[in-house]
């Protein structure tokens, strides 16, 4: 499985000397993405055969924060999100421009199984 690491760097400039401070945070995938799972049977699925749309947004983190309520912070952020219309059997996955297999897979599982965690 290919995970994407995101790093942030902060630089500070002093009076007499230039001081480089580098604070790096590696975002690790949620635990639910690190284990194998048994997909729900048709009767247990939220949508058995969803029509899936995939949107890549430059503001993907912020967008997902807004619609899920999980904020973007220096140490955590929503890496992807999905929303669905059960009656119409439609599901939309949103990620930022850079993502990973696990995030896309995680959201695809939402399309079939609805809110399967939290």
């Amino acid at each position: 499985m290919n995970f994407v690491n995101f790093k942030c760097c902060f630089r500070s400039v002093g009076f007499a000397l230039t001081l480089h401070l580098t604070a790096c945070v590696t975002f690790t995938p949620p635990a639910v993405d690190l284990v194998r799972f048994v997909p729900a049977q048709d009767l247990q699925r939220n949508i058995v055969e969803p029509k899936v749309k995939y949107l890549v947004k430059p503001d993907g983190y912020e967008y997902c924060a807004r619609i899920t309520g999980f904020p973007v912070t220096p140490t955590s952020r929503p890496m992807a999100c999905a929303f669905w219309n059960t009656r119409r059997k439609e599901c939309t996955i949103v990620t930022p421009v850079e993502t990973g297999f696990n995030y896309l897979g995680h959201e695809l599982r939402h399309c079939f199984e609805g809110a399967f965690h939290d």
Binding site: P29, D33, R66, C81, T86
Partner: protein
Amino acid sequence: MTESRLAKSLDAEKRRTLKAGFWLGLGGSVFSPNILAENASLSVGFLNNYLPYSYLDAQGRLKGFDVDVVTRLAEVMSVKLDIVTEGLAKLNKKLKAGEVMFIGNQMLATADNRREYDFVKPYASIQLVSVLHEDDNRDLLSLDDFFGKKLGVLTGTGVEEQAKNVIGKSVVSFERIEEALLALAQKKLDAVLEESLIVEYFIERDNLPIKVAAPFAAPVLVGLVVNKANQAMQTQLNQAVQTILNDGSFKKISLRWFGYDVSRARVGHSVSG
């Protein structure tokens, strides 16, 4: 849509009042903490004009999603319902006077409301959503996407204020949300912003060629509340809510009113940290 249907719907003024009441709090009464005995009578207040949650039909019978949920909860608790229907102000007085045990309409589990009440286990998730014509496949995900487009909103709400601040004159305000949804169905608007369950109800009831599209805010859990001093009632209701979520009866009620199980949010996420 007929005039009589419109007349029964909740107009903007009542929605504003209801919201204000929720935020200001309805509490203040003190109940003695007693467990309800089997076949005891449980006095519950409902708003009489709050589609689709509780309203009087043409024959004057109380109907609604919240009514069905509370009726099922009463069955689970083996108590008889003594239903009181009023407007918000009178229900508030009855609650304070101890004439009703709780208000049967769901409330938003906000921080302010949590300070006023103890929440029973939430049973529904609602969300501010965009509504588009069913022929419309545009991805309109934020208010910025509505620049120059006609966006219908309910007048006198925070949504109206925010939308007007961002996109200005192309926001079209309506006294009743059904009028906005009808205008959208007739392609006189590009979209409507409204709470998800209300929209799902009107789509189903009026067979409108429109659809719930993208969420515009995080989902909010809603549920019944009891007064702070009434922990026994809270415990009993918690158990009853858990029972109807587990035994499938809540899902049946939910499907009947909204076409899907509203106990779970319709958004998912993958959070890394």
